[in-house]
C-alpha cells in the first residue's frame, strides 16, 4: 500500500510507502529551487556577502559567516583580529539559540498535543535577534562580516546591552524551559537529574516516556560535524567512537532524479548532523547519557537541541568577558580581491547542523560556488537499499503522525535546501 501524504515544510514532500501496516519506505522530494549557485557565477566575489544571507531567512547569518570564511580561505596570510572572530562567533551562537526556541515551541510542542505557544517562541528569539542586530545592524540578513573582519565598532555600552539580552534569555530559560539554575544544568551529567525538575523540556521528555516513544526515531547512529569554533569541535562519531580527523574532501553531493535537492554523504555514507551530532562529537556528558540510554532517538535529539541553548548562552557570556575592545574590528587584506585567483571553502555549524560553502574565484569574479546545507545531510533521499538518515529513522513506524514527529525532530528546513 502506498499512502501519499504531503508535508509542506517550505516545499518538501514525503511519500510514505506502507507494507503490513508499517512504513516500509519514504520518498523525499523537494519541489522548488532558486538556483542561487548559478546566480553567483560571474558576480564579483564580495557580492556573495550580500546574496548568500538571502539563501535562507531562517539561518541567513550562518550563510553570511560561511561566505566570509570561504572567501577568506582563498587568501594567504590573512589577518583577522580575535575581536572580530569572537563577534562573528557570538552572533552565530545567537542565531542558533533563537532557532532552537522557535523549533521547540512552534514545531515540537504542538506535535505533542500542546498548544502552539507563539509568544514563548518569539520572546526569547526577539532578544537574540536584537543581540545580533546590535553588531550586525539588522536580523535577519546582516552583512556586517566582511573579508578582513567585521564592520561594527562596538563600545562598552553595547556590551552592557548584549549581556542584558543574554541575561533575559537565561531568565526565560530558567522560568519556562527548565526550572533550574542554568549553571547547574550545564553540569548535569544524567538524564534523571534533568527529569527531576519542572519545565517545558522535562514535560516533553516525560511525555516521550509515558507515550512509549523512547525507541522511536533511531537511524544509523553516525554523526558528523565540520564547523569548528571556540565551542564546537570538528569530527565524526560512530556510536560513541569519535574521530576528529575528518576531511571535507570526502564530502560528496549527488543529484537526485526526483528532487531539486542534492544528497550529501561522507565517504559514501549518510551521517546525521545537528545538535545531537555536535554533542556527540563534543562528548557532552548529559547527551552521552541520553544516547547511552535511548540511542539516536527523538529523546536524544530533543534534549540535545534544547540543552545547546543553555550551553551556548553560558559560552557566549564567557566570550564577551574575554573580548578586547581595543583590538581592530577590521584588518585590510594585503591583496586586492581583483587580483585573486584561488579556491576555498568553509564549514560552520548552523542551527540544524553543518553548513559548507565552497568557492572558486578568478580575478575576483566567482567562477563556481557550491552550498551544502544541513538539511541536505539529514534529509538525503536515498534508495531502499541505502536510505538517508531521516528516511531510516521513519522505517517501521505504524502511522504517519509519529513519522511526522520523528521527521521534525531533525528540525528539517527546506528553505536553504532549495537554494
Amino acid at each position: 500500500m502506498i499512502k501519499l501524504i504531503e508535508k509542506i515544510e517550505g516545499e518538501a514532500k514525503l511519500n510514505f510507502n506502507f507494507k503490513d501496516e508499517k512504513i516500509e519506505f519514504v520518498d523525499i522530494e523537494f519541489m522548488s529551487t532558486r538556483n542561487i549557485e548559478n546566480i553567483l557565477k560571474g558576480k564579483p566575489a564580495f557580492d556573495a556577502l550580500v546574496i548568500n544571507p538571502r539563501v535562507c531567512g531562517i539561518c541567513g547569518h550562518a550563510h553570511l559567516i560561511a561566505t566570509v570564511k570561504a572567501l577568506e580561505s582563498c587568501y594567504e596570510n590573512l589577518q583577522i583580529s580575535n575581536k572580530a572572530k569572537s563577534l562573528r562567533e557570538l552572533t552565530l551562537n545567537f542565531e542558533l539559540i533563537q532557532n532552537h526556541f522557535k523549533w521547540f515551541y512552534l514545531t515540537m510542542m504542538p506535535l505533542f498535543g500542546h498548544k502552539q505557544e507563539v509568544l514563548k517562541a518569539t520572546y526569547p528569539s526577539q532578544l537574540m535577534g536584537k543581540a545580533i542586530a546590535l553588531f550586525g545592524g539588522q536580523y535577519p540578513h546582516t552583512s556586517y562580516a566582511v573579508v578582513g573582519g567585521v564592520v561594527c565598532d562596538i563600545t562598552e555600552m553595547d556590551i552592557i546591552k548584549l549581556q542584558h539580552y543574554i541575561d533575559k534569555t537565561v531568565q526565560f530559560v530558567e522560568e519556562n524551559l527548565l526550572k533550574m539554575d542554568s549553571k547547574s544544568f550545564s553540569t548535569c551529567k544524567s538524564v534523571e537529574s534533568v527529569l527531576k525538575y519542572e519545565g517545558d523540556l522535562p514535560d516533553i521528555l516525560r511525555q516521550i516516556n509515558a507515550e512509549e516513544l523512547l525507541e522511536h526515531g533511531k537511524s544509523y547512529d553516525r554523526f558528523i560535524s565540520f564547523g569548528e569554533s571556540s565551542y564546537f569541535k570538528k569530527g565524526k562519531s560512530i556510536k560513541t567512537r569519535v574521530n576528529n580527523n575528518i576531511s571535507i574532501d570526502n564530502v560528496k553531493e549527488s543529484e537526485m532524479a526526483t528532487s531539486f535537492a542534492k544528497n550529501v554523504s561522507y565517504k559514501d555514507k549518510y551521517y546525521e548532523v545537528g545538535p545531537l551530532a555536535r554533542a556527540m562529537v563534543n562528548k557532552n556528558q548529559l547527551i552521552l547519557d541520553a544516547h547511552k540510554k535511548y540511542g539516536d532517538s527523538i529523546f536524544s535529539r530533543i534534549i540535545a537541541r534544547v540543552c545547546e541553548i543553555s550551553q551556548l548562552l553560558l559560552h557566549s557570556t564567557k566570550l564577551i568577558k574575554e573580548l578586547d575592545l581595543n583590538e581592530p574590528s577590521y584588518i585590510e587584506p594585503s591583496i586586492n580581491i581583483k587580483q585573486l585567483n584561488a579556491s576555498g571553502y568553509s564549514a560552520v555549524e548552523a542551527a540544524r547542523g553543518t553548513l559548507i560553502h565552497k568557492v572558486e574565484i578568478e580575478n575576483g569574479i566567482i567562477k563556481n560556488y557550491e552550498i551544502i546545507t544541513p538539511t541536505q545531510w539529514n534529509l538525503s533521499g536515498g534508495t531502499r537499499e541505502k536510505m538517508g538518515v531521516s528516511q531510516k529513522a521513519m522505517i517501521g513506524l505504524c502511522d504517519v503522525k509519529t513519522a511526522e514527529l520523528v521527521f521534525k525532530t531533525f528540525d528539517v528546513c527546506s528553505v536553504c535546501t532549495t537554494h
Binding site: E6, I39, H141, S143, V146, Y330, E332
Partner: protein, 384 residues
Amino acid sequence: MENKALFEKLSSRLDELSNLPKLDDNKSISSLIEEKGFSRREFMGWAGAMTSMLMLPASFTPLVAKAAEMADRLPLVWLHMAECTGCSESLLRTATPSIDSLIFDYISLEYHETIMSAAGWQAEHNLESAMKKYKGKYILMVEGGIPHGESDFYLTIGAHGKTGEKIARDASENAAAIFAIGTCSSFGGVQAAYPNPTNATALSNITDKPVINVPGCPPSESNIVGTLLHFILYGTLPALDAYNRPKWAYGLRIHDACERRGRFDAGEFVQQFGDEGAKDGYCLYKVGCKGPYTFNNCSKQRFNQGTSWPVQAGHGCMGCSEPDFWDKMGIVHEPLGNRLYHTVFGGLGSDATADKIGVGILTVTAVGIAAHAAISLVKKPKEW
C-alpha cells in the same frame, strides 16, 4: 480642519468594521492583550509609535489602537513562493504588543505555511476553504518571487503539485487587498538576479489586480504591520510611488534621513572599513553605501524593535528595497558614483524619485557626491 475631516473619515471606517462579525467570537483583542501581560499603557505606547510612522498626527493614536483591535475582522492569507522566509522571520520579531499577538491571535491568520500546524492535504484544504469562505474579503500577503511561464515547475506546492504561479494567481483573484511583502514578491528578488534561472518575477506580473509593494530584504517589521494597519484604517490603498510602494514608508531616500548625512555634507567619508573615520561614524558612501539611491524609512524605523540598522552598524545600505538591486547596485563595497544602470526609467534607475520627478535630485546628488568626494581626499580613496 483637514485633520478633523480625516479623523472623521477614519472613525466611520472603523465603526463600519466594528459592525462586521469577529472571526472568532471567543477572542477579543483587549482580553488577549491583558492575558499576554501587556498593560493598556504599553499598547497605547505602541499605537502612538505606529501613528507617527503612518505620518498621522499624535491625536490619531486612539484610532490606530482601535484599528489594531479591528484586525480580527479581516482574514489574512499569507503565501510563500520562491523565497528565504526572511520576511516572515522579520514579522515574527515585531515589537510589543507584537505582531505575533496581532497576527496569531487578533487576526485570523487563515493560512501561513511556516507557522500553521497543518500540513499536506489539510493545509491545501485550509487555503482553499479560506479563499472560498472569505471570497472578496481576505487580505492576501505574498512572500517570494514567482517562477513564471515555462519555468513555473521550479516551484510546486501541495498535494496536487500546483504551481506557485497558479496558487498566487488564484488567491489574487478574490482578495480584498493584495500586498507583496518583501523585495522578492515586489520585484522578483534574489532569484530573479541575472541570469534568473527560474524566470522568477514579481507578483504584479502575474495578476491584473492592483498589488501594493512592501519591498525590503527583509522589510522592517513595522513596514509590514503599518501596511496592514493602514488598510484597516483607510479601507483603501495608500498613496503610492512609481513602484507601487506606500509613500508613507518609501517616500524618502535612506540618504535623506540618514544619521550619517551630516558627515556626508561635511565631506567626511570612511575610506576603508576599520579606519578612524569608521570609528567616528563617518559617511559610508565610499565603501559602497547605496543610500542615495534607495527609498525606505530604515533609518527611522530601524530593525529588531528599533535596535539598529545596517548603516548604524557600519555597513552601507545595499539598496535592498529597489528593483533588481542585485544586478544594479553592485559592486557591494564600491560606490555607485556616476555609473548609470538600467531600470524601467531607462537608465535613471531609482534616482528618479518616488514620484518620477527626481531627475533634478539625481543631478544634485551626483554633483554633491562628486564635490564631497573631491574635498575629502585626505587619503587616497579606494579604486572606484
